[in-house]
């Protein structure tokens, strides 16, 4: 049954994004908010707003009972969880189901299964999606280790089968090295855990993070191509692109097809993302995990495919079969998103929950800004620092970077420190321009002092 009254159980820019998608489909919107968020932009834009509890997220946005009760009381027939908070909670999805309210996302069982690393790896293997190769069980001798390593592929990581953490991990690039290191690892494992059993796994050095966007209706799935999200700081994505220009067409097709196979194998319903490590040296990709929700970086996919992912989520949750066939989804150009956080990048990214002064948002061809800002808005200190995203779409990657730089220079926001200077410096960096980076690239780049007040102005005086 089509959704008529949608409850948005999130805040910030994604709540605004969901409201816009719902209103475009003629759906009545009910925005949840904490006591600290009564004046956020999503509350102003929604048809109704409901306070669900105190500022602390555990008492409001993370409180399943309160959110479900508020959705029920508001007469909602569906709930969109956004990202973060309760967006990957099987308990939340089950509680809504018990209350007779539609969850905009996959089933609780799918959320649970794909949220469990071991179960997700098993599902991937069963669907024929590559995972990081490793030994099936414990290895007891050096010859056995060499045999397994030959099938897993070098370089390999050798670690104790017992115990956890990084203790006793060794990396061998060749069989000679392995034959030298395995006995040491065995002796150390025996001493530390009283068990000399070993475990072997392929090492993916300096991988890229590439992910595939999929949409499914429970029986059929399609992909909306890939995103490259290798520029990360403290495991948080900073700059995201669609597509991944490092992939050749054959690899791209294989990657996207394997993502669809896994999505269909778990009867996936809604929008989801399969994350992979990509090893450029060997041109191999390995599934690492699935996110069973909409992601922060979904706009880059929307820009290059023209598919409104959030509207599609709402249609699927409302019972419509998937409207798109794979051949209808085509890529046009390249898109880049950068995350605008209320942080001072020149002061170790110190949070800066200030009050928004004069605000000038960039606009122009190929530019989109998803945000939760307005002049006079006091950013609360209780939640994530993400306040918006600038997305630039161009004919190709250099064109997208040029448009991004222009948009960032035109973005004016008084009263705050933001990560805009970081993104301007990245846009001017030769390696970023050449696209030669990986997941371990940004932190050393920052540590090396590449972000200076001069670099942050893009060299302009």
């Amino acid at each position: 049954m089509a959704i008529e009254r949608l409850f948005i159980a999130n805040r910030g820019e994604i709540a605004v994004r969901v409201i816009r998608a719902a209103q475009a489909l003629g759906i009545h919107t009910i925005q949840a908010h904490s006591e600290a968020d009564a004046d956020m932009l999503a509350v102003k834009l929604a048809d109704e707003a409901v306070c669900i509890g105190p500022a602390a997220a555990r008492d409001s946005y993370l409180n399943v009972d309160r959110v479900v009760a508020a959705a029920q009381k508001a007469g909602a027939d569906a709930v969109h969880p956004g990202y973060g908070f309760l967006s990957e909670s099987p308990r939340f999805a089950r509680a809504l189901e018990a209350a007779g309210i539609t969850y905009v996302g996959p089933s609780a069982d799918t959320i649970e299964r794909m949220g469990d690393k071991v179960a997700a790896r098993q599902a991937a293997e069963a669907a024929g999606t590559p995972v990081v190769p490793g030994s099936k069980g414990r290895i007891d001798g050096v010859d056995e280790a060499a045999q397994v390593a030959a099938t897993v592929g070098y370089p390999v990581m050798i670690k104790a089968a017992a115990g956890g953490g990084g203790r006793g991990i060794r990396i061998a690039d060749t069989e000679d090295e392995l034959r030298k290191l395995a006995p040491q690892a065995q002796a150390e494992a025996q001493a530390a855990f009283g068990d000399g059993g070993l475990y072997l796994e392929r090492v993916v050095r300096n991988p890229r993070h590439i992910e595939v966007q999929i949409l499914g209706d429970g029986s059929r799935a399609v992909h909306c191509y890939e995103r490259e999200c290798s520029l990360q700081r403290r495991r948080q994505k900073v700059w995201e692109e669609a597509g991944a220009v490092c992939l050749d067409e054959e690899t791209r097709q294989a990657l996207c097809a394997s993502a669809v196979a896994l999505a269909e194998a778990v009867s996936y319903s809604g929008a989801g993302t399969l994350e992979f490590l990509y090893d450029e040296a060997s041109n191999e990709f390995f599934f690492i995990e699935m996110n069973t929700r909409i992601q922060v970086e979904h706009p880059v996919t929307e820009m290059i495919t023209g598919v409104d992912l959030v509207q599609e989520m709402l249609r699927i949750a409302g019972g419509e079969p998937l409207r798109l066939t794979q051949d209808q989804i085509k890529v046009h150009g390249h898109a880049i998103e950068v995350r605008i956080n209320a942080e001072d990048p020149l002061m170790q990214f110190m949070p800066f929950p200030g009050q928004v002064g004069a605000l000038r948002l960039p606009e122009g061809e190929g530019i989109r800004v998803d945000h939760c800002l307005y002049e006079g808005y006091q950013i609360p200190p209780f939640y994530d620092s993400l306040i918006g995203k600038v997305i630039a779409h161009g004919a190709d990657r250099p064109d997208a970077i040029t448009r991004l730089r222009g948009a960032l220079r035109a973005f004016g926001v008084e009263g705050l420190k933001t990560t805009i200077p970081l993104h301007l410096a990245l846009a001017d960096d030769p390696q970023v321009q050449a696209g030669t980076f990986h997941t371990q690239w940004l932190e050393p780049w920052l540590d090396a002092g590449n972000l200076t007040p001069l670099a942050a102005t893009g060299g302009a005086s």
């Binding site: 110190m350 200190p381 209780f382």
Partner: protein
């Protein structure tokens, strides 16, 4: 007597983690730079340190309370 103020808005914690004892108890000696509490601001934890030495006079702001920048958290007696 001097006041320990928070430089940032956020949530104030008396303890390093829920299972630990508070950083200071009334009557404890306080040296310059001693950690008095934590401020959680946008998922980041910032240590609040004493800027004057003396004897801890007690927390003025409750544990886990929402605070605004400049708010007095605790007192230190010279």
């Amino acid at each position: 007597m001097s006041d320990v103020q928070t430089p940032l808005p956020g949530t104030f914690y008396h303890r390093p983690s829920p299972n630990d004892a508070p950083y200071k108890a009334k009557g404890d000696a306080v040296a310059v730079g001693d950690v008095i509490g934590l401020i959680e601001v946008m998922k980041t934890f910032i240590e609040v340190k004493a800027e004057a030495a003396g004897t801890f006079g007690g927390y003025v702001t409750e544990n886990e309370a929402a605070v605004t920048a400049g708010q007095v958290l605790a007192t230190v007696d010279a």
